[in-house]
Subunit: 362 residues, 2 copies
């Protein structure tokens, strides 16, 4: 992918084709490196939650048959852990326990969040609770979470305690972010109790940024980096998380249904409180009032309503503000990385990954 | 409580009244010691999962109003952690992080297990998923689990890594036990796929013993005990867990509804696969076949059916076998404790606690 339908490249961030090609290769390389350890970790699970975990990772169908065709996630978190270890001068292998742990935690959070959000589809397949039942899906998520902590606690070498400490802080942050996100749904679109864009950003940092920051920090930590470098990697990952969520929000409204697998204007139809809408409403004015009225209407948005709401979000500057938010946080991530000494080759690959994620279509 | 309706004291294990009195005082003392730390830990949670956690612990009603009257659990796990630290010559305070962590994990597991089992009532109140909804209950459980790991990872001193390693192994064991327990429900009462008593015992050790063993071991570990003592405490806790589960199973059939809060013969009406029933069926014979036919019948057991099934379990020796199982594992627990040097006062309190748990009515 060398161009993007959703995030036009500006002068400050022209997407360089060679970086995008690097990113795709990087993701594959890191996935191949981590896969045996991740697979070995899953085999430690009881067969039943183990199958649900493998299904959730896109490795098998219900019943355990290996999948045909690619339904796996991108593996951004494991890649960040591996690249961060390499960036601090260690081998990618030294970050394996961290890479496995963050992928397990990511899978846990998708699995439980889908229950809480009532989402029945993910990556064009039924979600685990839909395919296996709610109780079993709760169990599988618990199994993944426990396994993540165990894998990291068993890391040989002197860094296990610090690594687990970092992961546990990440877990409490993730849960806090999910709690906020769930509560946003019942808050009004306007008035003093409306969700402010700053609250949304704080939620996105907890829900998405904490784990990306943890991935990068664990790579640095297990690679033996000094605390200042680990902290910079953590901050870079957190900024990346906010940018990532902003791009997700853009795709949720303006993404190509053929690529995202969701209906056009999906997030508006579902009246999700996302960055573009909250930014649009926060500006006030006639269009914002019309948008709020549409979102407040008791009936679901029909096609015409969704098109109109999308136009209003754009007219109120919600799309531009979200693009700027993504760019700003991506710039900040780059800044964090440039402030510490990193191995050039791995740093280049991380930068490529950041750009790839900003310009991704899904 | 000086006598027991369910587990008559035999010559080898006459319940000594002074031990029972000691146990009640011990539980209160340990609860009072741990309460400020447990309460401080809960305050670190987001307010919403925090309220659900406090509700689950029996500290508040839905909405957050403090509860009137005692609906708290016995606090066996926190007591075991505190007493084990004292038994290895350390202060109870040195085990606080461990005591808090095991209570948090216990609360997490009740919360998620109630979702998986579809149980709507616990300790005479609605379960969290019933009172707050399934999604929020999943979230609250996740929050408790994450907090448990965090509290332990932050333990000052040299034992944090070993403590978290032990807790993470416990968590994977708990999940494995719960997976087995859920799968037992769909297995037949008779034939080659029937649940064997040994499988049931293995499940009980994972689901109940692992966390009790962890509580005792963490107390020893944080109290600075040598590995041999920590291992003995762990083994004692595991045996206690199997005994505890056996007593639970006896109470589930023969317990006094006024005390247990459940209908008479509750577990048989729900056709739960428990130790007395599995032991009864495993013996074979005419009564076992009649029992299997009753349990296999398509309609729910009526009062007469439940009374008859109870009589058949007893006639097949299921009650006696379960009593013996409880005694045997309690003896083994005592044996583990006597095999290592422990401070007499704390060891006496632990022994009192074990007897109390064997003879409890609820």
């Amino acid at each position: 992918m060398t161009t993007s339908a959703t995030v036009p490249a500006g002068p400050a961030h022209t997407m360089r084709p060679e970086l995008a090609g690097t990113a795709a290769r990087t993701l594959v390389r890191c996935r191949d490196l981590v896969r045996p350890s991740l697979s070995a970790a899953l085999e430690r699970l009881h067969a039943w939650p183990g199958e649900m975990a493998a299904y959730s990772l896109g490795w098998c169908e219900v019943g355990g048959t290996p999948t045909e065709g690619a339904v796996e996630g991108k593996g951004v978190r494991q890649a960040l852990a591996v690249l961060s270890a390499e960036a601090v001068g260690a081998s990618g292998e030294s970050a394996l326990a961290g890479a496995v742990a963050v992928e397990l935690v990511h899978t846990f959070s998708l699995l439980h969040d889908d229950i809480m959000d009532g989402d029945g589809m993910r990556r064009q397949r039924e979600t685990v609770w839909k395919a296996y039942g709610t109780g079993p899906a709760v169990l599988a998520g618990d199994a993944l979470l426990a396994l993540a902590v165990q894998v990291l606690a068993e890391t040989p070498g002197p860094h296990a305690a610090a690594a687990v400490g970092r992961l546990s802080g990440t877990l409490t942050g993730l849960v806090r972010g999910q709690a906020e996100d769930l509560l946003f749904a019942s808050r009004p679109w306007t008035g003093p109790d409306a969700v402010r864009p700053g609250e949304y950003r704080a939620m996105a940092e907890l829900k998405t940024g904490t784990l990306l920051g943890c991935a990068a920090a664990l790579g640095g930590l297990l690679g033996g980096a000094p605390p200042r470098t680990v902290a910079a990697l953590d901050r870079a990952g957190r900024h990346l998380g906010v940018a990532f969520q902003a791009v997700d929000d853009l795709l949720g409204i303006w993404g190509d249904p053929a690529v995202t697998g969701k209906p056009v204007h999906s997030d508006l139809r579902q009246r999700k409180k996302t960055c573009p809408v909250l930014a649009a409403l926060a500006g006030g004015g006639r269009h914002a009032r019309e948008l709020a009225a549409l979102l407040d209407a008791p009936l679901p948005l029909d096609d015409a309503g969704a098109v109109r709401a999308t136009a209003l979000v754009e007219a109120c500057g919600g799309r531009t503000a979200t693009l700027e938010e993504a760019r700003r946080h991506l710039d900040a991530a780059h800044g964090c990385l440039r402030g510490v000494p990193l191995a050039p080759r791995a740093a280049y690959e991380i930068e490529g990954l950041l750009e790839f994620l900003l310009h991704r279509e899904v």
